[in-house]
Symmetry: C2
Subunit: 363 residues, 2 copies
């Protein structure tokens, strides 16, 4: 999707891909298949690149430092990216700059989890491995000390967090360039199902204007303080008592920003590319009163073709984005965007299409 | 741009390109470099393709028939495409189905041109080689029999046409699928400079509603009668006495439809792909009251980079589309789209950006 956004800008990509079947490898011309965890592979790949960016956060921080030492600009750079790679580093830094987070601390073992619970309102407690989590993986909600053993088995430090009493999840997406220009997209509501993003509504309905502004300012301030270059998604909890707390950070185009492809003047992908290349940023404002994104997950049927035809025929305004992935149950294989003046209609159209593609709606 | 539009649809392209430097070859993954005039090259290329389509009309008609005989779907097919390849065939067919055209006939030599002039209002007369013309090439406006010799030197039949007294040029863009679904984009005004499209305004300002409807119906009818599959651009003259006459046909995404990338719910490129694959077509309606496209031509400076920065910084809403071509004076190297509520503002922004990129505006 970043390549797609780069085409009109005249930007040429070279892609380091795990396999030739990866979504990006299917559409980019210049593809190197290799392991991003191997420094020699990274060094060979980086030769001749003007700048390196990412569509995930898993490239080891020390390898990024090595590339920087070789004179290759890495954006976002390792000093910023480490906050999206390591939840322990992220929490410590957000504390230091005064950004509100759930109560948290690194815990050493199940007994320490019990102590952490006792320091607050007791169980449940959320446990996260500080590295390697994604889409609910690496996250446990535990109700007792007996349940708190699994997270420690990975040999990675474990972060304990209070289970926040939130009314909903929000996301504040911002983009920042090396010369310090920054833009903020409207704050969205993000609805999760089973720890996986399901629906994003832009802008977040019934969000108090002051709270929306506070969330945007918080995201812009985090981008600045952490030296982020490119897209920063700040996932937030809106608490029952009207506060916002930072849940997670992502430093790349993010699922909570996919609505911008069809709903904003400039998409998150275009602005990420513009930021990474230090080009002036594009207007982040919405083009329609409401835009809704719903993820398309794989269902029981590997062939979505007839569903795809049905959805296009049913709703000629529907924007389908497929990733070229094999369909497996529960796997994110695409998303749909809808937009318009009437939120109920926009939501119904997106949910129907995503449900039909997955096979959970058949009429 | 068709590849770009195919990415979200999950469509994979294989490209036959004249050179590795062609715009499309820079962004498509699977590229074969070869000569589209060579049947063996076409046959080798076509093996394994589900369907073949084009971004120009120059593949020889007989080669397309050979591919069809091999069982490869060609869309638009040769029986339709020949009307965009051969202006003589096109005129004869439009006459037969009652579509209004400028007065015309095939002429055999300069004396015959004089006879053609005398049959109507005299000189000037427009002469066109029936094949091979593009962007004003292969077209002569002659004021006397002495000027009428050049067109006959190519050894290609020459079509004479009256010089139409038009107030402006319009274009009606439609898309038709194999199962007979068709959509019509709003009729646009197309402003030419030196025979090359300069500015497109969507929709055409102050166009009588009945005339707009007539133009759309005419384009839909041509698409149906000629069996077009994919995008059809019908270039029209609006005459001083309130008629519309067909100037040219193009059967592919067309410069007069580039505004749809940012100005319509579904772009001409996405709908062309959907038609070629017999997928249901997308909504062709505009997203903004006014959209303006201005072509970016090469100027005296080969490096557009600082102009590109300036334009993005001056207008964060500007949509730039660059083709990755080397800059040569007068060469189409990209286009810009702007949209909004106020036509004067939208026009000014597009013209300023295109002029600045070309180097004709420096403030």
């Amino acid at each position: 999707m970043t390549h797609e956004a780069g085409i009109p800008l005249g930007i040429k990509f070279k892609l380091l891909s795990d396999t030739p079947q990866d979504s990006a490898a299917q559409v980019v011309g210049d593809v190197v298949v290799g392991d991003y965890r191997d420094l020699d592979t990274l060094r060979d790949f980086a030769r001749g690149c003007d700048v390196i960016t990412f569509d995930h956060e898993h490239v080891p921080t020390e390898h990024l430092r090595a590339l920087e030492a070789d004179g290759i600009p890495v954006r976002p750079g390792p000093d910023a990216l480490v906050h999206a790679q390591d939840k322990g580093v992220m929490r410590a830094r957000l504390d230091a700059i005064g950004v509100p987070c759930p109560r948290h601390r690194i815990v050493s073992d199940p007994a320490d989890v019990a102590a952490f619970a006792a320091e607050g309102d007791g169980f449940p407690v959320v446990l996260k491995t500080v590295r390697g989590g994604y889409d609910g993986k690496g996250v446990w909600v535990v109700d007792s000390v007996a349940e708190a053993e699994d997270p420690f088995r990975a040999g990675v430090p474990v972060l304990a967090e209070e289970k926040v009493d939130y009314v909903r999840e929000l996301a504040a997406n911002v983009v920042r360039s090396p010369h310090g220009q920054a833009v903020a997209y409207p704050v969205v509501e993000s609805q999760q199902v089973g720890g996986v993003c399901d629906t994003v509504i832009a802008p977040a309905p019934d969000l108090d204007e002051a709270l929306a502004l506070k969330a945007e300012e918080m995201a812009l301030s985090i981008a600045k303080e952490l030296g982020v270059v490119g897209h920063l998604a700040v996932e937030l909890f809106q608490t029952r008592d009207g506060r916002i707390l930072v849940n997670e950070l992502a430093m790349r185009p993010h699922n909570s920003g996919h609505w911008t492809q069809d709903g904003a003047i400039t998409s998150q992908f275009a602005n990420h590319v513009r930021a990474v290349l230090d080009l002036p940023l594009g207007d982040p404002r919405p083009r329609a009163p409401w835009t809704v994104m719903v993820n398309v997950l794989g269902g029981d049927y590997p062939d979505m073709y007839s569903a795809y035809l049905h959805c296009m025929a049913r709703d000629p305004q529907l924007k389908i984005h497929m990733y070229g992935k094999d369909v497996k149950p529960g796997r994110k294989v695409g998303h749909v965007n809808t937009y318009g003046d009437d939120l109920d209609d926009v939501l119904e159209r997106a949910r129907h299409a995503a449900g039909y593609l997955r096979g959970t709606i058949t009429e």
